[in-house]
Amino acid sequence: MNIQRSSEPTGTDDPATGGTGASVRFENVQKSYDGETLVIKDLNLDIARGEFLTMLGPSGSGKTTSLMMLAGFEPATHGEIYLNDQPINAVPPHKRGIGMVFQNYALFPHMTVAENLAFPLSVRNMPKAEIAAKVARALEMVELPDFGSRRPAQLSGGQQQRVAVARALVFEPDLILMDEPLGALDKQLREQMQYEIKHIHDNLGVTVVYVTHDQAEALTMADRICVFDQGVVQQLSTPDELYEKPANSFVAQFIGENNRLSGHITDIQGGECRVDLDGGGSVTALAVNVAGTGERATLSIRPERVVLVGPTDDNLANRLTGRVEELIYLGDHIRVRMTVAGNRGFVVKLRNDGERPSVKVGDTVAIGWQAADCRALDPIDA
């Protein structure tokens, strides 16, 4: 894997760097709907031109709200949003020139597909011939050249989706917002559309801000992923970094499968720390997000980085024993659920490569992992 962009693990890019070609910039943005709770606590975010940025987070974390503020449908309670280095808090939505794809597509039901596509052009008073040409080209782009005279209701979900994307692109904005645009599609179609949207993005070079709460979608599509929780950006990184180097326990738990072990720190040295586990035993981990010696921490280990060790292997920094609780056969690999240091949900993935050691439910086996694969993060009560 190659990492194209590196970023601060906390995701709060320095806002003071001035106009550096960022397409969108949120600066200390806060948002409250009711005057009592902050839905967006302090959003600082730079989105580069041409970037595909995905906002990922659990329901209610403020993704849509951020998008709505960017599109101009919700005012920011505090802070400033910049579009191409211009502050846009006072610019009404129709003058922002941002294309938007809504979750339920919002195709105008009383217009044909062609009229829907012509809408953004006709409100810009473009000549009729030019509109017709652009509409035809847009339909071509989403592979629906013969569907111009249909009504949205006469299209399948996937076709409506494409029309919605085409409509958001037809007036050639350089920023497109998509709020869970594939949420209503079935899995297969969703994967196909993911590919097509990505393809369009690569071809046109527009900036895309894409909201989803499907992490697989985020990982496959995005240049960078912005993980939200409770109105705070938890981490802003490339997909691989997000998966392999989560900055805190929330991200570690939210992205991919994760094993958690709680304990307290006994020693910190040179980026590594020693943690005594609550369930017994002691391990060495990368000190990523820890408070200091004596404080509590949560360890994060990906299931595929844990190995079963024979008595002779001793090049692993960390060794523990676990009791096998459950085996799930998944073809290419086997999921082993075991109890490790008091955690009954500890998962190990065994590759099904013919050399796997045979384990049975009830066995007590030795497991281990490298210190580099184990990250000590902020404590959460498991």
Binding site: F102, Q103, F108, P120, R167, F171
Partner: protein, 425 residues
């Protein structure tokens, strides 16, 4: 797919059949018949109720507009004579004999006044003619009837009277419709337009349609923003607002109308206020009651919920995203409203306007109370003929024309907008 090809193959061979060879259509009809019968059974009480209390009385009422047997029943001899002869001049002794015999009998049965009234519909003065003649009919003891009757009252020698009676002799008549359309028969029995001073109904129909359209228009203008507010507010506020919208339904119509009178009459609250502020002079008080404005204002108020409710129910289903999408695509607020929001509320507008218009066209109490003479609608005339003049035939004819007009408008609406497009709730 196997099923698809099967179907196509079977389709090529002829009509589809089920396993035992019954045609599929027959089998389907048989299978659904039971369900339909059951459904019919469940709605039967309502159906019966509607037929007994609505369809039948209305049908009978409408029949009265073309059927009036008062004359033919109570004046049998004269009626059969008149039916057998063409009346082109005042008839001779035969007819007068029949008239005298019938009148004698009618007096004995005390029906002569009804008969007179029936003739009076088309010839004023006939009631008193029949009454006075019947009172003295015993003086006529034998022929010559014609001369004696003419001696009693010369009016019996007028051709117009005879043509009117000749038309009344047939129990089925178009006379009421003619009258409702401001037409009348001249002395020769031809249909002509009624004299200028007796043309009331055409004017009244026109006024009814115009005022109803005005009320519907005002309701739309006032109700549209209210419905939109209602549909876009959070639930806790919109519920309260909805209660306010529905409040008029909970207060008596009379109370509301009376309060409008208190408010708007020339010595009323509004005028007093305007005078005391100095906007109006004391003798320049606005006349807002007992004229057309009174009718329009009070009816607009009464009809408003009928506009807001269908609009609201449509607006509720228009997702916010549509307008947002329009805005994000570059449409200003006005364009987004006109090109995206408004078209989607057309079903509600259609339903509301049609509802308000149709109710207004038949409205009666409010114009009667606050309309003065210039704010009377056709239904007030219908009520007058039902209750005061007791000319039910004319009332029925007016009612039938009103119904026909409304159906025509509904048909037009269906052709132009499409009734499927309408959403009432």
């Amino acid at each position: 797919m196997p099923t698809a090809t099967d179907t196509v193959a079977a389709g090529d061979l002829g009509p589809l059949t089920t396993g035992d060879g019954t045609p599929l259509k027959t089998a389907l009809a048989r299978a659904t018949r039971r369900a339909r019968l059951k459904a019919l059974f469940l709605v039967a009480p309502l159906l019966l109720f509607v037929i007994v209390t609505f369809a039948v009385p209305i049908g009978q009422m409408l029949y009265l507009s073309i059927y009036n047997p008062v004359f033919s029943d109570n004046m049998p001899r004269l009626s059969s004579w008149l039916r057998a002869h063409d009346v082109t001049e005042v008839p001779g002794e035969d007819a007068f004999k029949a008239l005298v015999l019938d009148l004698t009998e009618a007096r004995a049965n005390r029906t002569h006044a009804q008969v007179g009234t029936r003739i009076n519909y088309e010839r004023s003065g006939a009631t008193s003619l029949f009454k006075s003649t019947a009172r003295k009919i015993k003086k006529i003891k034998g022929p010559p009837y014609k001369d004696q009757l003419l001696a009693l009252n010369e009016e019996w020698g007028e051709l117009h009277l005879w043509t009117v009676m000749s038309r009344a002799a047939a129990p089925h008549t178009a006379a009421f419709y003619a009258q409702a359309l401001d037409l009348s028969y001249d002395a020769e029995g031809d249909i002509v337009r009624a004299p200028e001073n007796r043309r009331i109904y055409g004017h009244l129909f026109l006024r009814t349609l115009l005022l109803s359209a005005l009320v519907a228009g005002l309701c739309l203008i006032l109700g549209y923003p209210a419905a939109h507010l209602l549909a876009s507010l959070p639930l806790k506020y919109s519920n309260l607002l909805m209660v306010l919208v529905l409040l008029p339904f909970w207060t008596s119509l009379l109370v509301r109308t009376t309060s409008w009178i208190t408010l708007l009459q020339s010595q009323g609250v509004l005028n007093d206020m305007l005078v005391s502020v100095g906007i109006l002079s004391d003798d320049g008080r606005l006349e807002l009651m007992y004229n057309q404005w009174g009718t329009v204002i009070a009816m607009t108020h009464i009809m408003l919920p009928f506009m807001i409710l269908p609009l609201y129910s449509v607006m509720k289903t228009v997702p916010k995203d549509f307008v947002r999408a329009a805005r994000s695509l570059g449409a200003g607020p006005v364009t987004a409203f006109l090109r995206v929001y408004l078209p989607q509320t057309v079903p509600g507008i259609g339903a509301g306007v049609l509802l308000v218009f149709i109710i207004s066209v038949g409205y009666y109490i409010t114009p009667a109370l606050v309309g003065g003479s210039s704010g009377q609608l056709i239904s007030n005339q219908i009520a007058f003929h039902m209750l005061q003049s007791l000319n039910w035939g004319l009332a029925a004819a007016l009612g039938a024309l009103l119904l026909g007009g409304v159906i025509l408008l509904y048909w037009l609406y269906d052709r132009l907008v499409g009734v499927d497009n309408m959403k009432l709730g």
